[in-house]
Point group: C2
Chain length 348, copies 2
Amino acid sequence: MPRVKLADVARAAKVHPGTASRALSPGQSGQVSPQTVARVVRAAERLGYVPNAQARALRTARSHLVGIVVPDITNPLFPPIVRGAEHVLTAAGYTVLLTDTDNDRERERRQIESLRGRGVDGFIIATAQWEDPLLTDLASAGVPVVLANRSTSCSRWPYVGGDEQAGVRLAVQYLVGLGHRAIVHLAGPQNVSTGRDRVRAFRAAAKEFGLTTADARVTVCQAYSEAQGKAAMRRALRAPRARVTGVVAGNDLIALGALDALAEAGLDCPGDVSVVGFNDMPFVDRIQPALTTVRLPLERMGGLAADLLITELESEGTQDAPTRALLGVDLVVRGSTAPPPRQRARRR
Amino acid sequence: MPRVKLADVARAAKVHPGTASRALSPGQSGQVSPQTVARVVRAAERLGYVPNAQARALRTARSHLVGIVVPDITNPLFPPIVRGAEHVLTAAGYTVLLTDTDNDRERERRQIESLRGRGVDGFIIATAQWEDPLLTDLASAGVPVVLANRSTSCSRWPYVGGDEQAGVRLAVQYLVGLGHRAIVHLAGPQNVSTGRDRVRAFRAAAKEFGLTTADARVTVCQAYSEAQGKAAMRRALRAPRARVTGVVAGNDLIALGALDALAEAGLDCPGDVSVVGFNDMPFVDRIQPALTTVRLPLERMGGLAADLLITELESEGTQDAPTRALLGVDLVVRGSTAPPPRQRARRR
DNA sequence: GTGAAAGCGCTAACAC
DNA sequence: GTGTTAGCGCTTTCAC
């Protein structure tokens, strides 16, 4: 059963296909007499006409397709971003091509190329690395890109993320307020902006609240994972003259790993060591102990990234400096944070 | 900067565009002399040629686009399914159009229509309702569809899901083995197959293991949500002559809600009441108490759904009875299940 | 206000 | 083995 096409509608309405096209096109229906528009619209509805987007895209060189690139859709950070973006995009007549790079750069390169072949109008990219040749390639090909959640060393792309600096400051401030002095930051990977930004913010906050560099240490994880978090926490506890009563984790997964390492070392959270996470993943309010964490407005982040991309796509080349939006964050206080134990050496 | 097209490659290789097309098409490059193929391929690589998928789709009436429809991508059930499907599809040269219906049927209808306009070759649908006019419409339009996770009353579509019957049986068997006799099933919504199948399986298992109908009660939730689970658990506890030591929840979210209601009623899990969930969502191993639950191979489910769809798309109309695959499930025993307390009336 | 005609980039049926 | 040609369904100049 062949799909009904514009020519069928035109025939039914007894007009030329060109006229039918104009009648159905919101921008151009003014050029057609109201009666004709009505006749065409009625015919289209009666026949169940759905325009062929491929043909339209081929003709207009605008596909109304947007690629969304995430490292791993099963990481709970990304579904809300995708959802927020998808809702805004579909409302504006765009369709989402989703791709999950599996944290594999070569795969990512191929996927982006494939989506380019699909004629996407632009990308929302949540996989940006601090130095990212894939993005540079896209830029030199003139493809519109908006970065979500992760930024790059170069600020040539519009970007929507959380206010990392404020989030980390909130966490450190809260721990210091509880009386903690010895705080370690289990940093995320340093090849992505969130990992780097949070380290920088941690050092700044430590300074602001009067912690010495011996008090405010940093241990870097190679990935945002429970395993890496556990290993990092172990290292922090084993370090010479280690003294840790507070932990600011690079994200919630690292925090979960840290909790494992603490339990393994016979330390109680929050009795001996307090832990703050980052992201407020689903269900971290239900783990034991309920995780104190920094909440990012992820769905809004995706939505705003979509808004920026649409703006860029629909403004004809009037390029100002790219927008960089840092969304406000909240510290959600739960059971994993408490005042530090009375001063006693915490050594292993 | 205009994209390089086939004509550019042909010119660079000094052949006709038609020949260039054949040379680059795996199926037809045999019709071209090896030297020519080499020349064309080299030119294509040198110029960075990426075929225009829109044009190809328009010409061949095959888009290599697949729509994946999920009710809510932030529900942790769906990302693994999407991921599994996406990996298989991209490996086979297909691209995924993802849409999140937000559990809104009207929105779903519009989205499916929109994706049809995009010329998708077929759909993987994870939103099927027990009676589903949207699917019937798709069928009468001759659009290939594979159902994932949820089936319908009518078995005309290929379907990949978990073995619900086995999963529920495992749960009931385990509880009975621990000594439980009074077991309530907090059933999922009855307009989706998983909700219905699990009720049926619960009744069958109860019978098999010698529970009376007074022992094995069912309370239906209107949605797979914590709120509904909590309300249902409350109802179960309040019921006249209520006696509950075991709970089989319709899924993990319902189980989480049930835990809330138990805590609220001053009952200990697993001391007073044991709870079994369904799905093994991420991090339910870390909640308090760690949830005993039935694990479904979700990523495999998505991958297999993709395989079935690809088979259907690439077999020319040789229609057998649609495949129905029920994937094996496991009971993951954790802390939320224990023997029942010594017999005493459990009344409120 | 409407009709005619060309063409987006590609593939496939047909020549030779 | 390769060139030629037509056309997928749509939009959009250009006439009138």
